[in-house]
């Protein structure tokens, strides 16, 4: 009786526990064991994934603050969703101060890892991959933080996403650095977000390398203050394999960096090589919309200090070939639709302006010419993004 009483007492009365490590190994019932660990974890705990392949049948989710999910390495601890029967993503995180590191998510049916409203999230040395290569039937986003403050994605690898490999949406204060994005429709996409740095990434074999977009009819609009710096953006010529209807389905294959409907975007010190449509494209959102609060044009875009390799040899948009012919066989390394205001280019490359005069006009109505900017070619550097110390400390 005493023993029963004590057991009951222990069950009922949860005393504050010390942070602990919950080890989960691959093998039978991985779905239930891992999901249970993610649910029963308490703030401060580490859920440690063993080496091996976790064969999962449903999406996983984490909703406990301040938990680390750590594997034995992005090629060692593999969460495979090839047999997934339900859920819209492989792993969903909805709590704050979470660190995800050193594991892989493969072949999820929807998105790879989504974190929604999860502030101060760290993705470190994560691999999200659709192992069959680029296919329209692959999930949309690889690493997908949305509606968050303070996001860090670093040293990760994403491959095969039918929308964006790394997609940060409707967030604030963001660093995406030292990642590899390969064979996605969009390598890295910053959408409807404020204050972001995309630096030192290798972005290759995608349809479009790095996209900075703003779209209408969303809770957070008015994307601004985005630095795209010191990235290698090479050979992004994969045919667009996004399902129709998605906004990225309209991105021309061979786009290095695309800035659309954003304000104060700086594209500096990147190496942009062998992108068949152009290395940098600065344009307005062209589709019809009904949203009085949305500005579809690009504004205050600053381009400087970049290294330009070959580009524009296979422009993938209507009238592109004729335009290229008029420019001696290839489009220049920078293409601008002519809309918005304050495009500043301090690189010694020609800039093609399509000379469009209104938003939504077809490129076939272009009045192409070389772009000549008004006024001074200087701009104010963006303030560096500072993340809470807890996030950087998590990587130690």
């Amino acid at each position: 009786m005493i023993r029963t009483l004590l057991a009951a007492t222990a069950l009922c009365c949860t005393m504050p526990a010390l942070a602990k490590t919950i080890a989960v190994e691959a093998g039978a019932d991985a779905q239930e064991r891992l999901q249970e660990a993610l649910i029963l974890a308490e703030p401060g705990d580490v859920v440690e994934l063993g080496a091996g392949r976790f064969e999962l049948t449903d999406g996983l989710s984490l909703d406990v603050d301040n938990v680390v999910v750590r594997g034995a390495g992005m090629d060692k601890s593999i969460l495979s969703f090839a047999g997934q029967l339900g859920a819209g993503e492989g792993l969903l995180v909805t709590s704050d101060d979470v660190v995800l590191r050193d594991f892989a998510v493969e072949d999820s049916k929807g998105d790879g890892i989504k974190s929604k409203g999860a502030d101060r999230i760290v993705y470190h040395a994560i691999r999200v991959e659709w192992t069959g290569g680029p296919k329209a039937s692959n999930g949309a986003y690889g690493i997908y933080p949305v509606e968050a403050s303070d996001v860090l994605v670093q040293d990760s690898v994403v491959r095969g996403a039918s929308d964006a490999g790394i997609y940060v949406g409707q967030s604030k204060n963001i660093i995406v650095r030292r990642n590899t994005a390969i064979e996605n429709v969009a390598g890295i996409e910053i959408e409807n977000s404020f204050d972001a740095e995309v630096t030192e990434n290798l972005v290759t074999g995608n349809t479009g390398g790095i996209l900075v977009f703003d779209l209408p009819n969303l809770p957070q609009m008015g994307g601004h203050n985005v630095l795209v710096a010191r990235n290698a953006i090479i050979d992004n010529n994969t045919d667009n394999f996004a399902p129709e209807g998605n906004i990225v389905a309209s991105v021309p294959a061979g786009t290095g960096v695309m800035v659309m409907a954003n304000r104060n975007v700086q594209v500096v010190e990147n190496a942009m090589i062998n992108n068949g449509t152009t290395n940098v494209m600065v344009v307005a959102y062209t589709q019809s919309f009904d949203d009085a609060n949305y500005d579809p044009t690009p504004r205050e875009v600053y381009i400087a200090g970049n290294v330009y390799g070959r580009a524009g040899f296979a422009p993938d948009f209507e009238g592109g070939k004729q335009l290229a012919a008029a420019f001696g066989g290839a489009l220049p390394g920078i293409v601008y639709d002519g809309l918005g205001r304050d495009l500043i280019v301090n690189d010694a490359v020609p800039v093609l302006s399509l000379g469009l005069t209104k938003v939504g006009q077809s490129p076939t109505e272009a009045q192409p010419s070389l772009y000549k900017q008004d006024g001074a070619g200087e701009t104010v550097a963006l303030s560096p993004i500072v993340l809470p110390a807890s996030m950087e400390a998590a990587l130690k």
């Binding site: 999406g59 999930g139 399902p243 209807g245 019809s288």
Partner: protein, 338 residues
């Protein structure tokens, strides 16, 4: 230290109560910390099979109900003795006192017998609502906590007479929250004044479980009631099946697609709205709703798909709800005709 003893005392009360036969609802178990392993620990039911609600646990019904793979659902409300729920406004949810519970059992008629698969409980504790899933054993004598959810193979006959084999998904604790979430906090979603059946409202009022209502409370129609206008049936269907996530504070807030009954902006309901993060869920279509063209509307594509990553809702559906899909299809088709 006093708190610690008080907590032990509370636990002991719970323990003593659960050991006694034919006991009342275990209030202490509802409000104490922790996750009881067995459904019977709560004392919501008199019988081991979970069919006879205990005193204070009342069966209620909704005007329009969520589709969950044609499962039969049995819904109960428990409010602690001497306390009352309050209706905040006509559209809003009921505000329940701490110690309340919402209980929902899911089952099918299998081989001519009613069988329960799972019972989900929502417990209102001092620190908020907690959602827990309990799975019934084969003997139908106990349901056990399964925080990680599970899948159960089920064969049943649907309302049209068709035999169905499905992998029924019991949601995990976090998946409960995906739908039951407002601004990150868990809340009940079904029992709104406007969605409680007339009889259920009367029952709650006459049992003093609900404080008397003031003002008008126009009900949401039953979407299956063909006598009601098509527009309001369709909107009722979207409200109860989709709007738990698709609202400005819900887990699909980032989509910009808001399907609550009161949403007035056509583009946020989906008319002419382009997808944002739909991925292959777009099905190659440009708009969530293309007026007059249900077969080119993303909303219909996702409603009719069974593929994870495409199918909506993301949880609780492994079958197409034929009747619901027909209703929405008709609604979208009619849109083009004005």
């Amino acid at each position: 230290m006093r708190t610690f003893f008080a907590a032990i005392a509370l636990c002991l009360i719970g323990f003593a109560v659960s050991a006694a036969p034919s006991r009342p609802v275990a209030d202490a178990v509802i409000i104490s910390a922790g996750m009881p392993k067995k459904l019977s620990d709560f004392g919501f039911f008199k019988d081991a099979a979970g069919w006879q609600p205990n005193a204070g646990v009342e069966l209620y019904q909704l005007n329009s109900a969520l589709f969950t793979d044609y499962a039969e659902k049995y819904r109960y409300i428990y409010v602690p003795a001497g306390q009352q729920a309050v209706a905040e406004n006509a559209n809003g949810l009921l505000k329940f006192p701490v110690g309340s519970a919402i209980i929902k059992s899911f089952g099918y008629q299998i081989d001519g017998k009613d069988r329960l698969l799972e019972t989900r409980v929502l417990l209102h504790r001092a620190d908020g609502w907690l959602a827990l899933p309990y799975v019934w054993n084969a003997d139908q004598t106990e349901a056990t906590l399964k925080v990680a959810g599970t899948r159960i193979p089920v064969r049943f006959t649907d309302p049209s007479g068709m035999v169905r084999d499905i992998s029924y998904a019991v949601p995990n604790k976090n998946q409960c929250k995906e739908c039951h979430s407002r601004d990150g906090a868990v809340v009940p979603i079904g029992p709104k004044v406007r969605n409680l059946s007339h009889d259920s409202l009367d029952m709650l009022l006459s049992n003093n479980m609900l404080q008397s209502l003031s003002g008008d409370h126009p009900p949401i129609p039953d979407y299956a009631d063909a006598a009601m206008p098509l527009q309001s049936r369709a909107r009722a269907y979207l409200d109860i099946n989709c709007a738990h996530c698709h609202n400005r504070q819900g887990s699909a807030s980032n989509s910009g697609l808001f399907l609550t009954y009161e949403e007035e902006s056509p583009v946020h309901i989906g008319v002419g709205k382009r997808p944002v993060a739909a991925g292959r869920g777009s099905g190659g279509f440009a708009f969530a709703i293309a007026p007059g063209a249900p077969d080119q509307s993303i909303l219909m594509h996702r409603l009719k798909s069974l593929e994870p990553g495409v199918a909506m809702p993301e949880v609780g559906r492994s079958l197409v709800h034929k009747e619901g899909a027909e209703l929405l299809s008709q609604w979208i088709a009619e849109m083009g005709k004005d």
